[in-house]
């Protein structure tokens, strides 16, 4: 059976499914049992599984990560949720010196099975320290897996895979994905970590994308199709590790590459992908690979300064025309019935 549900409900479904099939799955996080339930993602967990397995926590990000590590050494599978990715920066010792290294530094004698859910903010003035998309920071560390699903379907399957993975997984959700709907099977299913998915077949250009940028990519591709430009979209789903075969094969076909990033471009997942593609399939590329992402600045707060800051479909369309050397301008008008700093009309701050 399949139902159409939002991305946040799919996360909720994955947590319910995992906790139901394994009593060792534990959920903790600041505010997971509050009336808002982390944008609805943790609703009814407490009611269903009780306060031993679902608990709020002190604002002690570093210790709570270590506590998750300790519990996992006694075979618990721990899910820790943070309302914003930025908060986890307080726990970098436990993540980088602890979780990421544990299996390695003890010669494989033990393993750390924790999933850290992080939510990237955007818009409504989230500003410099509530909207960082720091996936490359984690992806840089051997021993961490970093997952960034863009659809409700992938969110459920990948979260279950993350929870039952024997390794620490950084599971990054984009706030603007939470309200998007998709078809999701009711039963348990797993999506392998590390496998990108081709979500659109095309012959003219390869777009590699992640998380929310995949939504913009789909819009751009739909529009370009009307002008007989056929994009192939590969949604990364996991940003570390990445199985590059599907990307390389696509480049061999399209000969062109555009990579989209939710973060600033410098030292990013997108620059890593461009590097890997240049090293491996350079001779197949007919034009320089390009990246669309944020400029290398902190995110400002003001409504005024965030205007035109985040790249969107229009920028993707223009870049593709540029790569394909099409001089003609295509009249793309984004039908915005809402302000630039919210994903849809109903979206309200303060989060």
């Amino acid at each position: 059976m399949q139902k159409t549900i939002t991305y946040s409900d799919a996360i909720n479904d994955a947590l319910h499914t995992s906790m139901k099939i394994d009593k060792k799955v534990i959920c903790m996080g600041l505010g997971i049992n509050d009336p808002k339930n982390i944008f609805g993602t943790t609703k009814n967990l407490l009611k269903k599984f009780g306060s031993n397995r679902v608990f709020d926590m002190p604002t002690s990000e570093n210790a709570m990560t270590g506590i998750g590590i300790g519990m996992s050494l006694d075979k618990f599978k721990v899910v820790i949720t943070h309302q914003r990715l930025d908060f986890i920066l307080l726990a970098m010792d436990q993540i980088i010196n602890g979780a990421a290294k544990w299996h390695y530094m003890f010669g494989g004698k033990d393993n750390v099975s924790i999933t850290i859910r992080l939510i990237v903010g955007r818009g409504w003035g989230q500003g410099p320290t509530h909207s960082q998309s720091l996936q490359s920071l984690f992806a840089h560390i051997p021993g961490l897996k970093v997952v960034m699903p863009s659809s409700a379907y992938d969110a459920k399957g990948l979260l279950i895979s993350s929870i039952f993975d024997k390794n620490p997984v950084i599971f990054i959700e984009h706030r603007w994905l939470h309200s998007l709907e998709g078809k999701v099977p009711s039963k348990k299913y797993l999506i392998p970590i590390g496998k990108p998915k081709k979500i659109l077949n095309g012959s003219h250009i390869t777009i590699v994308s992640m998380s929310y940028m995949t939504i913009e990519a789909i819009n751009a591709a739909k529009f370009l199709k009307k002008y007989n430009i056929h994009c192939e979209i590969i949604d990364l789903r996991t940003v570390s590790p990445i199985d590059y075969n599907i990307i390389f094969n696509s480049i061999k076909k399209t000969k062109k590459l555009l990579v989209l990033d939710t973060s600033n471009k410098s030292y990013s997942i997108s620059s890593e992908i461009v590097a890997k593609c240049c090293e491996n399939v350079f001779k197949h590329l007919l034009s320089p690979p390009k990246i669309i992402g944020l400029p290398n600045i902190p995110i400002p707060t003001s409504f005024g300064m965030t205007k035109d800051l985040y790249p969107e479909s229009k920028d993707i369309i223009n870049e593709i025309l540029n790569i394909m050397n099409i001089k003609q301008t295509i009249p793309y008008e984004k039908n915005l019935s809402h302000k630039h700093d919210i994903p849809h009309k109903k979206f309200k701050g303060p989060f």
């Binding site: 534990i26 506590i67 010196n97 494989g108 033990d110 021993g143």
Partner: protein, 321 residues
């Protein structure tokens, strides 16, 4: 009672003799990793680890040889680990600062100050959820109590009533930096801890049997009440912070202070106590030493004879499958 006293003597002697041997042989340049000796601090390792149960959890720090050995960790595998051999307790991946022996629930020592404290708290949560009556014992130095993660951990242990024994070994120095440089004069860990809801005592005691008895009493209380306890033990390391040498020539510690602690050496004190009370004879002590000496020798032999891991192994164990 006689038995436990002999066990305690054996443990402190074992730790001392293993570390003396490491110190003696370090100059051969075959132990190629940072090595933090606990010579001078043995009574706490032995007293605490013998006072808890075999299946109780222990986590530790960069200075962990004593804790590992006292908990019953395999000596051959420890020495092999320091030699970087594939037969080491961490298969050569960790070295002196990353010891593990899950057979005796020595769950790991880590090299960043304060890093293993919350991990030990997590093991306490696990024990409580499983209702298995285990307690989690966490060793850390006084420098870790200058870190945020220590307070976060203490707070959670108190909040959730966790079966945890926090053991602070206060050896007065963080590398070369004295307490005066690092903590306000009237700061009391006991008071800080108590005001956070964790019962705490400070122990200035060098007799390993006394340390054992105190720990035994509080370990039983932790197990009975499911509430954490913190014990701060005053102690002193004889050697440099890291490495085999005596570094008294650097004069960062006062001669009078060094002498004060040397005069109450835990091994001398305990031997004297046992002889005076006729609990052991000189001959028995010699026999204990002989037995330990042969174990230590064979551990080093084992380590030296073992193979280095292949360079290929560096690419293994990044992820568990």
């Amino acid at each position: 009672m006689k038995n436990i006293q002999k066990n305690l003597l054996e443990k402190i002697k074992l730790i001392r003799m293993v570390e003396e041997e490491i110190s003696n042989k370090y100059f051969e340049n075959k132990m190629r990793c940072p090595t933090h000796l606990s010579i001078g601090q043995e009574a706490i390792s032995a007293g605490v680890c013998l006072a808890i149960n075999n299946n109780d959890y222990v986590v530790s720090t960069h200075r962990s040889h004593g804790h590992y050995l006292a908990k019953g960790g395999n000596i051959k595998k420890m020495i092999a680990e320091i030699y970087g051999k594939e037969t080491g307790c961490s298969n050569g991946y960790g070295g002196s600062m990353h010891l593990i022996d899950k057979n005796v629930n020595f769950m790991g020592s880590t090299a960043i100050v304060g890093n293993s404290i919350p991990v030990g708290v997590g093991l306490g949560v696990a024990a409580k959820l499983k209702k298995n009556k285990k307690i989690s014992t966490i060793f850390f130095g006084e420098a870790a109590t200058e870190q945020g993660v220590f307070y976060e951990s203490l707070n959670f242990a108190a909040l959730k009533n966790l079966p945890i024994l926090f053991i602070c070994e206060n050896n007065l120095y963080s590398v070369y930096s004295s307490l005066n440089e690092r903590q306000p004069k009237k700061r009391s860990l006991k008071n800080i801890s108590s005001s956070m809801g964790v019962e705490s005592i400070k122990v200035d005691e060098i007799n390993v049997h006394e340390i054992y008895k105190i720990t035994k009493k509080y370990a039983a209380k932790v197990r009975r009440t499911n509430k954490p306890v913190l014990i701060e033990f005053m102690t002193y390391r004889y050697r440099e912070h890291c490495g085999p040498n005596n570094d008294d020539n650097l004069r960062y510690r006062k001669r009078s202070e060094i002498n004060k602690w040397r005069n109450k050496d835990p091994i001398k004190v305990f031997e004297k106590f046992l002889l005076k009370n006729k609990i052991v004879t000189k001959e028995e002590i010699l026999n204990i030493e002989k037995k330990i000496y042969s174990n230590v020798k064979s551990a080093f032999k084992y380590a030296e004879k073992s193979m280095f891991p292949s360079p290929r192994n560096a690419f293994k164990n990044i992820f568990a499958d």
